[in-house]
């Protein structure tokens, strides 16, 4: 018997409606399994995407540094098992796994659509991530058809290139607007960009401290 929890256990949980961690603890307490095999059925499709701080354009080398922004997606059929928070540092001492994004949908196509939408609103800034690469895999027609195997990456993702060039003007525009707003306020004032008229929670909450500073 292998008593380990699979790294993919969220997929099992989403597809069967069970809570394996809770069950494992109950069993360890000497209580019986809450269900029998016959009572378990698979419903819909579940997909797990592992979000890594790594650079797909540099042979998936770990990308180290502080996570300046971590904004996780949420909504029906979306689950994020995450081990880090905004402000944490990705260091060389651990695996650069940021989180497991897990989705559930009635069909494979629905699960894929949900995963793509969730990844598109999963903002991680400060380090490179594999988010764009994961979206590209999910959008491969062969992946949608369920036609994948251990040679899938070599076969279909070999010519992958980031699509950021097409997007560059918008990024430049927003950065310019943010800088304009920031600089017009004067560099001697404290605070971040674009909060000229509106008080933000950061203003009203009081001061916070970044660990390791000072």
């Amino acid at each position: 018997m292998n008593t380990r929890l699979q790294v993919e256990h969220p997929v099992t949980e989403l597809a069967t409606g069970t809570d394996l961690v809770r069950t494992q603890i109950r069993v360890a307490e000497g209580r019986p399994l809450p269900w029998t095999q016959a009572e378990i059925s698979i419903r819909g499709h579940a997909i797990e995407c592992r979000i890594y701080a790594e650079d797909p354009e540099q042979d998936f080398r770990p990308s180290l540094g502080e996570l300046l922004v971590v904004s996780e997606p949420s909504g029906p059929g979306i689950r994020v098992d995450s081990g880090v928070r905004q402000g944490d540092e990705v260091t060389m001492f651990y695996d650069p796994l940021i989180a497991k994004l897990c989705v559930h949908g009635d069909t494979r196509a629905a699960a894929i659509d949900r995963a793509v939408a969730a990844l598109k609103s999963y903002a991680v800034l400060g380090v490179k991530t594999n988010i764009e690469y994961l979206i590209a895999i999910l959008q491969q027609p062969k992946f949608a058809q369920g036609d994948f195997h251990t040679g899938f990456i070599a076969e279909h993702m070999d010519r992958w290139r980031s699509g950021r060039d097409a997007d560059a003007d918008l990024a430049l525009a927003v950065t310019a607007v943010a800088e304009y707003t920031h600089l017009r306020r004067g560099s001697a004032t404290s605070g971040d960009e674009g909060t000229e008229e509106m008080p933000t929670p950061w203003d009203t909450l009081g001061h916070f401290r970044i660990k390791g500073m000072g």
């Binding site: 609103s121 950021r164 560059a168 990024a171 310019a176 304009y180 404290s190 605070g191």
Partner: protein, 171 residues
């Protein structure tokens, strides 16, 4: 009349000249010779919603030193601002017992009093820059000889904050 700001960016390693000016609630930009018009709003969580003729997009932006990071619909960009910002994020102190601000910011609190004896490492001032608080500690044992700032005061780079007279090296 709104002024036009010209910015020399480097995006994902490529140079890009951007000019920007506010026009009522709109922004008018020129990026690599192309005119762009948009509306932009930043919500309380720091997320930007941008509306162009191509539709509405949500963008996340983070700053670190002279680097800006942008996330939009799964794609990330790094933009470098060559001349605008200091390279260092935190207010650091140029050595010696006379403390000077290395970055513009605000004095949150002066913790020590004039004439007070302090030991190396003791917190004397708390500064704030870019929403981060930094404790300014004594570089050596000594006596506070002068305090040039007060709580709440805005400070510029190079401003003298506090003088410390090192104690005799008797110990």
């Amino acid at each position: 009349v709104s002024q036009t700001m010209k910015l020399n960016f480097k995006i994902d390693g490529e140079d890009a000249l951007v000019s920007v000016r506010a026009d009522g609630t709109d922004w008018r930009l020129e990026i690599g010779g192309q005119e762009v018009q948009l509306q932009a709003e930043r919500d309380q969580t720091g997320v930007w919603t941008v509306e162009t003729h191509q539709g509405r997009r949500r963008l996340w932006l983070a700053r670190r030193g002279n680097e800006r990071y942008i996330f939009c619909e799964g794609i990330s960009h790094t933009i470098v601002l060559p001349d605008l910002e200091h390279d260092d994020d935190e207010a650091t102190i140029t050595g010696g017992p006379n403390l000077m601000a290395d970055m513009p910011g605000k004095v949150v609190k002066v913790v020590v009093e004039l004439g007070q004896e302090v030991s190396a490492g003791q917190t004397m001032l708390i500064l704030e820059s870019m929403k981060m608080e930094t404790e300014i500690t004594a570089t050596c044992d000594g006596v506070v000889a002068a305090i040039h700032v007060t709580g709440g005061q805005l400070i510029a780079q190079g401003d003298r904050l506090l003088d410390l007279t090192p104690s005799e090296a008797s110990s």
